[in-house]
């Protein structure tokens, strides 16, 4: 009996020791930044509009002469399926690098200056910050009266003010005030998860002045939204990437805003500036450690 209690006490002591070891070790690991450590590359999943725009703009995607394209993103990259997960991963890992929409940036992570330009809406607008993609809506030729009126609203001064308020960059600096006919009816808008938040705010603002309008927004990804619009299931497609030639044959695109992509690192990372070539080399796996960046 005595031996039994002794062994239980020993087991409990072991458990306590393990927890103590964990706790002590955890706090010691924080703080100092070791530039010799490997870079944790965080990318988005295949098919994501953000990933599509990033790999195209940064030259991570390679197009060969025969028209085939290869996404050269390093196979070692961690894959996160959402902007918030990318930010969470980068915020929790001193050595991580990722990319997100500029409109989603907050102080949990640090945006790097790209080729000497800070990631701000102003720099995107002036063209100094080159990593930016259009937010596009596209319609097939025969659009309803309501769809046309809603697009008119988006491109008006009121609509572009909503776009600017979200942290995106309006495309029409001096848009005319809205003067639509406000028809009633129902339209369906489908597509990109990145574009959907701004479209939702635009539709809320539009319905305040046109109570007869019903706008359904289906968030299912760029490609699915475009397909639905070509098939006539939805009236307007939301796209976070330029349309390809097949899609352009069936749809008319309108750029409603420009969204910068921020290259983000952990707040503990001392790096402040990076070049496009370095970003590309990191994402195709040719630069793997932080001390390889000057």
């Amino acid at each position: 009996m005595k031996r039994k209690h002794g062994s239980i006490a020993l087991a409990l002591a072991l458990v306590v020791a393990i927890f103590a070891a964990c706790g002590g070790g955890g706090s010691a690991g924080d703080g100092g930044f070791n530039t010799g450590r490997e870079i944790t590359v965080v990318s988005r999943e295949d098919g994501s509009g953000t990933r599509g725009a990033f790999i195209e703009l940064m030259g991570v995607q390679e197009t060969t002469a025969d028209g085939s394209t290869v996404d050269r993103t390093t196979v070692e990259a961690n894959i996160a399926n959402g902007t918030s997960i990318v930010m969470g991963s980068v915020a929790g890992d001193n050595y991580a690098i990722g990319y997100i929409s500029l409109g989603s940036l907050n102080d949990t992570v640090k945006a790097l200056n790209l080729d000497g330009a800070a990631a701000t809406p102003g720099n995107v607008l002036s063209g100094d910050y080159t990593l930016a993609r259009p937010f596009i809506i596209a319609t097939s030729g025969a659009q309803s009266e309501l769809a046309a009126d809603f697009i008119g609203f988006i491109m008006s001064a009121e609509g572009q003010a909503v776009v600017g308020g979200r942290g995106y960059i309006p495309v029409e600096a001096s848009a005319p005030a809205f003067s639509g006919s406000l028809p009633s009816g129902t339209i369906v808008i489908a597509g990109s998860t990145s574009v959907a938040p701004v479209i939702e705010q635009l539709s809320d603002a539009y319905r305040e002045i046109n109570s007869g309008a019903s706008i359904e927004i289906h968030v299912q990804g760029t490609t699915a939204g475009i397909t639905a619009t070509i098939e006539g299931i939805s009236d307007i497609a939301m796209s976070s990437r330029p349309l390809n030639d097949n899609e352009l044959a069936a749809l008319d695109p309108v750029t409603i805003a420009v969204d910068g992509l921020a290259v983000i690192v952990n707040n503990n990372n001392p790096t402040a500036d990076i070049t496009s070539e370095q970003v590309r080399d990191i994402f195709i796996g040719e630069i793997t450690r932080w001390n390889e960046i000057g």
Binding site: I8, E45, S68, E76, I79, D93, Y95, G221, T227
Partner: protein, 290 residues
């Protein structure tokens, strides 16, 4: 008379209820196979099952799911290595060594473990396990913490309640004459438990392991948050990998056309895995009875 009619009527109500689950399984089968088989044929069965490249948005795309099959197998194997020894020893302890006051705490604690939603496990893994593995193992073994190793530990913890619960029930079901006989022959308490009682509960313990495998292979949310999700052949314990379930969940939102069909086909493979596990479970249970 009215009672008899009611009884007859209720019989059909119960039958409908029983048929509902069968109908659900049948519908899932139809959906999966109708969506997945054409994609497998279009990609080519061998290219699909044995291809090592998963690049769905390249032109031309490749849809090889071998990396994900291996990822699922490794992560599940790791979960078994972590979870089975701890789980079975816990079951032995709880049934034969545990003082009653401790049992009153241990039993509810293991049951509570089963009730925690998997996304909470995943979050625990993301904020506790991943940084721990990165800071303590990363310096020696490399990697960034999101790895097969981390996923194995997390899944090992997640399958504990299944293994402990089923194993403990199996050990307790062994007639007390086994234990008494061993003690009467002069064996110590420990020797009687480990060499007479536990071997007698072998098939029940194996059943618990198979149920644990089933839970581990189907887990999605927790694995996505800690495994890194790289779609390439696993290259090491401390490197990331992607499981079949993660592959489906991560890309379904954006997939179109053949990409989408390939993800459904991934579901078919997962379904076949689960069928095999259930088959093994049934065979074991039959053998245990006879």
């Amino acid at each position: 008379m009215a009672t008899k009619q009611l009884e007859g009527f209720m019989k059909y109500v119960f039958m409908m209820a029983a048929l509902a689950s069968i109908l659900a399984v049948a519908l899932i089968c139809v959906f999966l196979f109708a969506g997945g088989i054409p994609a497998m044929i279009e990609i080519g069965l061998f290219d699909f099952l044995l291809g090592r490249q998963w690049t769905p948005v390249d032109t031309p795309p490749s849809f090889g799911i071998l990396p994900m099959v291996m990822g699922s197998l490794y992560v599940t194997l790791g979960a078994i290595v972590v979870g089975v020894p701890i789980g079975v020893l816990t079951a032995v302890f709880m049934s034969h060594f545990c003082p009653p006051f401790l049992y009153k705490v241990l039993k509810p604690a293991t049951q509570l473990l089963a009730g925690i939603p998997s996304v909470v496990y995943g979050f625990f893994g993301l904020v506790v396990l991943v940084p721990f593995v990165r800071d303590h193992m990363g310096l020696i073994f490399g990697g960034n913490g999101s790895s097969i190793f981390t996923a194995s530990i997390l899944l090992g913890i997640m399958i504990l309640p299944t293994i402990i619960g089923v194993s403990e029930a199996a050990i307790r079901a062994v007639p007390s004459s086994y234990y008494e006989g061993a003690v009467a022959l002069g064996a110590s308490h420990e020797r009687s438990v480990f060499f007479a009682v536990v071997p007698a509960a072998k098939s029940g313990i194996l059943t618990s392991v198979i149920l644990g495998i089933g839970r581990a292979i189907g887990e999605t949310m927790a694995v996505i948050m800690v495994a890194g999700n790289q779609a390439r052949m696993p290259t090491g314990l401390f490197r990331g990998g992607r499981t079949l379930t993660a592959n489906i969940v991560m890309e379904m939102g954006y997939a179109a056309d053949l990409h989408r069909a390939a993800l459904i086909a991934t579901g078919v493979i997962l379904f076949v895995f689960i069928l095999l596990i259930n088959l093994a479970f049934t065979i074991l249970r039959r053998r245990g009875r006879s």
